[in-house]
């Protein structure tokens, strides 16, 4: 039987600790500078902050997505507020009455307003439709915000 080619233990340790340290440096940068960009920060009112917690309290993510992340039963809500034919009143109406697929949660008006304020904030942070991205030859993409408010 041929002897197995093995990697030496010091080399394994060196590789492991190099990756480990790099990971923590990388994590620190991602958690700070890499994600500081928030184009919607002017719309982050106290009501919107409350709306974020309500979004979790009612488990909206089971059915809805923000930036394509979440459930698949309902539509992506990232740009509901600025989408053609939708907007704040549309969102409020859905929240008040539910739909065939969405239950009526019988939310008080203050909670409906808070959820809409949160969606309004999210809407200002970016776009989720692939039409708004420019594709480069190397396969990378860049956001090209061509939002329509019609």
């Amino acid at each position: 039987m041929k002897p197995v080619k093995q990697m030496s233990t010091p080399l394994k340790r060196l590789l492991f600790w190099s990756l480990f340290v790099s990971f923590f440096i990388y994590t620190a940068v991602v958690l700070t500078k890499g994600t500081d960009n928030d184009k919607g920060k002017d719309f982050l009112t106290e009501e919107a902050k409350q709306g974020k917690l309500l979004y979790q309290k009612y488990n909206c993510t089971a059915c809805h997505q923000l930036y394509g992340l979440g459930g698949y039963m309902g539509p992506d809500l990232t740009n509901t507020i600025s989408a053609a034919g939708k907007g704040e009143q549309f969102a409020k109406a859905i929240l008040m009455g539910g739909t065939q697929k969405m239950p009526n949660f019988h939310l008080p008006e203050a909670e409906i307003n808070a959820l809409v304020a949160y969606l309004n904030y999210v809407d200002k942070t970016g776009v989720s439709n692939p039409r708004h991205f420019k594709i480069n030859n190397d396969g990378t993409v860049e956001e090209e915000r061509i939002m329509t408010n019609d």
Partner: protein, 448 residues
């Protein structure tokens, strides 16, 4: 007693799997018939499905490690009491999470929707597991086989990423949606990597034992693959958030890292002929059969993962059912098949003869039903995802119109999902029964 605790983990894991698949079938039916089973609406049945299936993956992997370390690695556990506390915490927290979902008490985020306070016992249980594992491993001289590195890595990174996923509790993270989503998916991406470390480590362990070839876990190539997997765990998560407006370097770096998976694909293709011969030779062995199925699903999912990690493609597939296909193909096709192989390996050991002939036949049918239905399920999700991706990019249809167009695929997907559940019942019930009876006997033997 620790061996028996390991078996208890696996038994509870099997219960979680069956209930997870049951709730998955319910939520699937609600997807196409929204008023189906109103008592447990979709926003409750979906988290029940997800949490229980995730619980199966972790519990079966953890149970295997508790069983294998003293039995096969010659390493008596540092503490025999900690696994029992771990199990008690797992069961207690699991029940509280299920009750909170049924009562509609949420508060967390996707995948961990339960009230955040319930994360505390989960963290404690993993700290106990980690302490026990690393203290036990101190007795093991070098070189550690690769699966021990993988188990240790999986335990550490679960704790780290699970804790990281709760950074949203701090206003600094919660009050910036870009930061919040990025950190959420950074942690989730790496968390999946951590359970893959536990599960793939188990696969290598079982393969080593079945084949008797120790080089599998010691070779340079195995370690190179481990370090490649670790690199992807740490830095490859951002393909989940290409469209989130974080700094472009985050997604470009993840794109580069994700493409290193081509090396793994290359290795699979290089070893294809040898793997196929080995599969044909040993397919009659139950344990091996599940490992072969996992190998096939690794190949299919890896090809899909590489394709959807290219940003130019990802922006069209992201948020569509193609992502679900990838998640389901991985959790059922790869993780569950490997963990079932591990369960049957353990059953073979504790019984001394394995599953009886009659049940063996039932399991064989279940195996083919589950895998065939999974293939249909997978293809339907891909088709639905392609449809949704195209309609979303065209931006001409409303969401309802879009969903109506892909409903035929989703209908077949739901019934294929029920087929997977049926196949899994045929596999898991005989295994559960055998393990349940034997774990009681092991307890009696250990007491004597």
């Amino acid at each position: 007693m620790t061996k028996q605790t390991g078996l208890h983990f696996i038994i509870f894991g099997m219960i979680a799997l069956l209930f997870g698949l049951l709730f998955g079938s319910v939520s699937g039916l609600q997807f196409i018939y929204p008023s189906f089973f109103d008592a447990l609406p979709f926003f409750k049945s979906r988290p029940l499905h997800v949490s229980l299936v995730v619980a199966w993956i972790f519990t079966a992997a953890v149970g295997g490690i508790y069983y294998y370390l003293p039995k096969h690695c010659g390493l008596p556990l540092w503490s025999n009491r900690l696994p029992k506390i771990h199990l008690a915490l797992f069961i207690g927290t699991g029940i509280l999470i299920i009750v909170s979902y049924i009562m509609g008490r949420f508060g967390g985020r996707e995948y961990w929707e339960f009230p955040p306070v319930l994360a505390i016992p989960i963290v404690i249980s993993w700290i106990l597991f980690g302490i026990n594992f690393f203290m036990t491993m101190r007795k093991k001289g070098a070189p550690w086989p690769v699966y021990m590195w993988m188990w240790g890595t999986g335990i550490f990174f679960f704790l780290f990423t699970f804790s990281e996923s709760y950074l949203w509790l701090l206003p600094y993270f919660r009050n910036n949606v870009v930061k919040e989503l990025t950190v959420q998916w950074k942690s989730y991406g790496a968390l999946v990597g951590s359970w893959n470390m536990l599960v793939y480590g188990t696969a290598i362990f079982v393969m080593e034992k079945v084949s008797g070839d120790k080089s599998i876990a010691l070779s340079r190539l195995s370690f190179l693959m481990y370090f490649l997997g670790l690199t992807n765990l740490m830095f490859g998560w951002a393909h989940h958030i290409y469209i989130v407006p974080s700094s472009p370097w985050i997604r470009n770096f993840a794109y580069f890292i994700s493409m290193t998976e081509l090396l793994i694909l290359g290795k699979i293709i290089r070893d294809w002929k040898r793997s196929l011969e080995q599969a044909q030779r040993n397919f009659n062995i139950l344990v091996f059969r599940f490992l072969v199925a996992a190998d096939v699903w690794v190949f299919i999912n890896l090809v899909l993962a590489i394709i959807i990690s290219i940003p130019a493609i990802n922006i069209f597939t992201h948020g569509t059912h193609i992502t679900v296909a990838h998640a389901m193909g991985s959790t059922i096709g790869i993780n569950t098949m490997i963990l079932l192989a591990s369960c049957f390996y353990i059953i073979q050991e504790v019984t001394g003869h394995g599953i009886n002939m009659k049940n063996n036949r039932v399991i064989a049918y279940g195996f083919w039903i589950a895998n065939s239905c999974l293939l249909i399920f997978f293809l339907c999700l891909i088709s639905a995802g392609i449809g949704k991706g195209i309609y979303t990019a065209q931006d001409k249809l409303t969401f309802q119109e879009m969903m109506q167009k892909i409903t035929p695929y989703l209908t077949v997907f739901v019934f294929a999902g029920i087929g997977i559940f049926a196949g899994m019942l045929m596999i898991v019930l005989p295994a559960f029964k055998t393990l349940f009876i034997k774990s009681s006997r092991v307890e009696q033997q250990e007491e004597q």
